[in-house]
Symmetry: C2
Subunit: 425 residues, 2 copies
């Protein structure tokens, strides 16, 4: 393989569970992202079963197109784990017992109150000349083999272990090895919610400079919103950060109306932080989302600083008895209505003693829709001091999608409302 | 490729988003399962970017190892969608405009209030001799090309569309084509929760017959429980069902203590059904799970038949004011204690007027743990008529895992409790 210009990688993922479709291959995507960030693009992924000649064919094909080959899976202690044997024999290497590894394995098992089984002995065998990359999270170490100028890494298939070995050893190794040849990609994420990808892309593209230099832009949509990933490919890290800051400053005012800042990409992180900074607390009243809205808020560590609690009022009687919604309001407008949503939001805030309240009432389906209020009709409301504000949503998708979108809209509504209150203050 | 014995398939998944790791490839696993069920094992998966020669190399390699090749992705209307062009040119086929397809596309856009853009014209072009497989969920149809005895299918990369075309066209086509050569695999799923995979596997293997005939068994663990998938590979469907019933009858009494029946694999389906059959209703009181328990129950359509509502009592004051937990009990035992869990379960059932109640109170972390009650300490309780029963859990994992496991244990506790009540009656 070419050894000038940026190095390229190919992945081989091994496992009957992958080829039979029992397990979705998340290692390939994770490795591709991690290598991409180091400036090493992945150009092929080969997936094969636990079959010696298939592993060998795939590794050979990978070595033909890339000077860096990462093989994952098939390093376990059972007889159907064949990767180490297959690759050693492909490269003409003998397997030898590594005494340091064996001692480590014995300790690993003893500390957990088990004895080393004969099967596990095979995990202490390494191909001659291999560099051992210790696995602090499991029993199969990573291995580095060199064949001419090609690097072949063998990694365990368990995602936690693979990621651990990558972060603890590979990053440094690859940076040293390919120093000067890579142009690492530096990323920043700008998060938005409440604007469709096509509209956001239209808006943004109107303002982009014709010459983007080393910058690229990707729109990453999911049911909760659209992330804008801006990337700069530069050998010099400082220069990359300057480019990124320039683009970020350009984009921020354009997306401000829908944007939020959160390292996790979750608007609840931004919402909880804002509530905490303001000394506010929140209580939640939910009907069709059935607990999802509260779960979202409490997904965040330290949510107990701002979240007091919630009432899931699935039945009308619970809305009346636990939230103080008026029976008349339900009779006249139905439970899915602006007035009921508002009464739920202020009712829960009052009863739980919170300074803000969020409420959702809607038809998530599959049943329960009417001509006037079809499935997807959802009212969200937020209360803040003496004011209550409601919003009507007409959502599409199945039950799950409608619930996810309703919760996201409700969270965004409170977050924006706090932002406006801030600006006025 | 060999045309005796069971046919084999190879997959080619195409897309820069796959090779860069922005999207996890779920199509490969879905197709492998779907083909496996038809008795057609997948033997290789090749993943490449939107690059013409890479697509061609992968399709060639796939055609060398399998007589059935499925290519997914790269059929969209934008210039980086190259699959159709790449495969046509590989097989020496011209692209021709298909007038029926073009008319259908125009209608598709008109019905949505859009006009056909010039880009979309390319989606009406098909390789000469191709069989068009209509896509009822999007604009890119599936295509079937034959090269000698090899079948090459081109499918859109959008999972909904790919699955639709597979179910509406491919299943029938493949069954006809390979009639008599396949031994379809018939599956049944037995669901368990509350027993670790290693213990279940030990228990089960003690009782398996030495000669399993056409039967195989797989343990599929996830954080909620372990599924036992039993499979029979038989040309004759009736014979397969007989084998499966025999094994199921053998296994059922062994796993009864942890088993449940649910087509979705979700214990809330079994729980809601049992509640409904008994004429029972349920209310939920949650602390550390923060809404997850209620969300799980309301994930099920028609949960409103049995679920009245819930109270998320994140703060102690809310436990006291909304659930009637005694201030003294909290002061003496802490909020994470047997007595508080029991008071929460009976309190919520009473206040919401439900015949059963479930409660969870615990330390999900990362903060909040003490020496006596470390992170992972969780009490779950269920109330049923005049009885309340609690269970102490010591869970491992991060915040998310602890919450998922706590909710699952609480649901299982009520489900088992109803089962015992049933047996006594």
């Amino acid at each position: 393989m070419s050894q000038v210009g940026p190095p390229q990688a190919a992945l081989v993922t091994v496992g009957n569970e992958l080829i039979h479709g029992e397990t979705v291959d998340t290692n390939a995507a994770w490795l591709a992202q991690a290598l991409g960030s180091l400036g090493i693009p992945v150009v092929r992924v080969f997936t094969v079963g636990d079959v010696e000649h298939e592993i060998q064919e795939a590794v050979s094909a990978a070595m033909e197109v890339a000077e860096l080959v990462l093989v994952s899976g098939g390093l376990g202690p059972t007889p159907d784990d064949l990767t180490k044997e297959a690759v050693s024999s492909l490269l003409g290497l003998e397997l030898c017992l590594d005494k340091t590894l064996l001692a480590g394995l014995k300790e690993f098992f003893q500390s957990r109150g088990y004895r080393l089984s004969p099967n596990n002995f095979s995990q202490a065998e390494v191909p001659e000349g291999a560099v051992v990359l210790p696995n602090t999270r499991g029993t199969a170490p990573g291995l580095l083999l060199e064949e001419g100028s090609t690097l072949v890494f063998l990694l365990p298939g368990v995602p936690r272990e693979l990621r651990g070995i990558f972060e603890e050893h590979l990053e440094l190794l690859l940076n040293q090895r390919f120093d000067g040849r890579t142009e690492p990609v530096h990323h920043r994420m700008l998060h938005t919610t409440g604007i469709p990808e096509s509209r956001l892309s239209e808006l943004v593209s109107q303002h982009l400079p014709r010459d983007m230099g080393p910058l690229t832009l990707a729109f990453l949509p999911d049911p909760r919103g659209v992330d804008l990933r801006i990337s700069a490919r530069c050998a010099n890290a400082e220069e990359a950060q300057e480019w990124l800051t320039k683009l970020e400053n350009l984009l921020e005012p354009i997306i401000a109306k829908w944007g939020f800042e959160a390292s996790t990409g979750d608007i609840t992180e931004a919402l909880n932080r804002t509530l905490s900074e303001r000394g506010d607390t929140v209580a939640v009243a939910e009907s069709c989302t059935g607990g999802l809205l509260s779960k979202r808020i409490t997904d965040q560590p330290r949510s107990s600083e701002v979240f007091l609690g919630g009432i899931i009022a699935y039945q009308d009687e619970v809305k009346i008895s636990q939230l103080g919604v008026s029976r008349l309001a339900i009779a006249e407008n139905g439970a899915v209505s602006e007035v009921v949503a508002c009464q739920m939001a202020s009712g829960v805030a009052e009863r739980l003693g919170a300074s803000t309240g969020i409420a959702i009432t809607g038809v998530a389906g599959p049943g329960g829709g009417t001509l006037e209020k079809p499935v997807g009709t959802v009212w969200v409301a937020v209360s803040l001091k003496e004011t209550v504000e409601a919003q009507l949503l007409r959502l599409v998708g199945d039950r799950d999608a409608i619930r996810v979108r309703a919760a996201q809209h409700a969270l965004a509504l409170l977050y924006r409302r706090l932002g406006y209150a801030e600006m006025k203050a």
